[in-house]
């Protein structure tokens, strides 16, 4: 997959300018950059949420996306399992749906809360539901937009461990944006620092996939 000469502006403000980057299949790619540099905008473009941009996205067109947002984005009047069902219905036979949902709720250790409403859950629990929703959804690419933002260190550590194990089991392409170097190095096969404002270039800080290829 390739991001080719991507440009994006908000009025006269350019945030991304002729940015090109290759994404390998099955790679966990972390895009590192300071807050407000346009990382989330890049993810929105990749997910198809923002379609007013210049340049080309090659190989992203037919891909099914899952997205973990900065906020949990749960529907307040649906329970935890209903929130998962909301996105999953139609993607598998009804007979398998409940079992599938149950498996993922179990993976994020929220069995006792499957019938709870989001307003009764803590911030960390909500984000775990959001992870369960993203991983349970059949996808080719998983997009993560600073999923640990606003969480305390302990919760962040817990969630990062959970996310690490989910990514290992999932074996799909992951593109994560973050401003946290530790987070990026721990989770990413490749860590790329976005350069410039507007974003024009990148610097590779870690490339495990190339090491693998080289070995």
């Amino acid at each position: 997959m390739k991001i080719s000469k991507l440009s994006k502006s908000f009025g006269s403000l350019e945030v991304i300018k002729e940015f090109t980057l290759e994404v390998l299949d099955g790679q966990v790619l972390c895009l590192l950059g300071p807050s407000g540099c346009g990382k989330s905008t890049l993810l929105k473009i990749l997910s198809g949420l923002d379609q007013s941009y210049g340049g080309q996205l090659i190989g992203f067109e037919d891909k099914r996306m899952s997205y973990v947002f900065q906020e949990s984005r749960l529907i307040p009047w649906l329970t935890v399992s209903e929130n998962l069902k909301y996105v999953l219905e139609g993607h598998m036979p009804d007979s398998e749906l409940d079992g599938h949902i149950h498996r993922f709720i179990e993976k994020v250790e929220l069995n006792d809360f499957k019938d709870s409403y989001p307003n009764t859950l803590s911030g960390g629990m909500k984000q775990r539901v959001s992870l369960a929703r993203a991983f349970s959804m059949p996808h080719d690419i998983l997009l993560l937009d600073e999923p640990f933002q606003g969480l305390n260190i302990e919760l962040k550590e817990q969630l990062m461990g959970l996310l690490e194990s989910l990514i290992k089991q999932d074996e799909k392409t992951v593109i994560m944006v973050t401003h946290d170097l530790d987070e990026a190095f721990r989770l990413g096969d490749s860590v790329v620092k976005l350069l410039g404002y507007p974003i024009t270039d990148f610097q590779v800080l870690k490339d495990k996939t190339r090491e693998k290829v080289g070995n």
Binding site: L49, M65, S66, E71, W77, Y86, Y117
Partner: protein, 252 residues
């Protein structure tokens, strides 16, 4: 605002009834009937089976116009929320209906509808439609952009989005609009019945009272109308609170 206690309420009511009695006495109990005379007529009405048939007939018209008005308001409110073109198309219609006086509607409807009995129903529909429509549309627009974009990323089909995201979001607004519509519909239906002299209707009873100078009947029927309106509103409130999904919203 402080709640009025039962004893206090009784005293306040007694004060106004006494004042009414004094005004009636000053008017020789003719133009303004005394509370006693009105009470006697009211008791007479309440003990007559015909009264209940009349009330139920009017109530049926109100119910029919509410059901159709709510259905249309919800349908077009959601369609206008989904489609900007439909929204723009409906702006002049909704503004026209909202700005037109009730009596104008009633007269226009009597001019074009062959069966007079339908006029109060159509009038009720026209009055409650914009209230329901505007509230449903408002509720639809209150759905957070974050939830909408989440639904887009996960490619949730439009019908499911409407049923699971937009409809529940509009429900509190719909319930509030329904309660308002009940009162308005009730008043408009009776006004249309009166102007159209519709058989078996509360409006006709008011008309007869005026024509035959039975002012005590007019007053008694007015009290009955107010009592019915209060009962319907309270009943609707109880019904809405019994709907489980509304309970879910209460906890948020």
């Amino acid at each position: 605002m402080k709640q009025i206690k039962l004893g206090e309420g009784f005293l306040i009511l007694l004060f106004w009834i006494l004042l009414w009695g004094l005004v009636a006495q000053a008017a020789n109990n003719f133009i303004v009937p005394s509370p006693l005379e009105t009470g006697k007529v009211l008791v007479g009405l309440l003990s007559s089976a015909e009264t209940y048939i009349i009330i139920l007939s009017s109530l049926w018209r109100v119910l029919l116009s509410l059901i159709i008005g709510i259905g249309l308001g919800v349908f077009f409110g959601i369609i206008a929320g989904v489609n900007t073109f439909v929204y723009k198309l409906l702006v002049p219609v909704v503004n026209f209906i909202t700005a037109t006086p009730v009596v104008s509607f009633i007269i226009i409807l009597f001019m074009y509808i062959q069966n007079d009995a339908y006029v109060p129903v159509v009038c009720g529909i026209l009055l409650c439609f914009p209230i329901i429509y505007n509230n449903v549309l408002h509720g639809y627009k209150m759905v957070s952009d974050e939830l909408v974009s989440m639904s887009q990323v996960y490619r949730v089909p439009l019908m499911r989005r409407i049923m699971k995201l937009y409809v529940p979001s509009t429900l509190p607004y719909l319930f509030a609009a329904t309660l308002t519509s009940i009162g308005i519909c009730w008043k408009a239906t009776i006004a249309a019945e009166l102007i159209g002299i519709i058989n078996n209707s509360i409006g006709l009873q008011l008309y007869n009272g005026k024509v035959f100078l039975e002012y005590d009947h007019v007053f008694a029927w007015t009290i009955l109308i107010v009592l019915c309106s209060v009962c319907i509103q309270k009943g609707a409130r109880v019904l809405i609170n019994k709907i489980n999904i509304y309970e879910r919203f209460k906890v948020i």
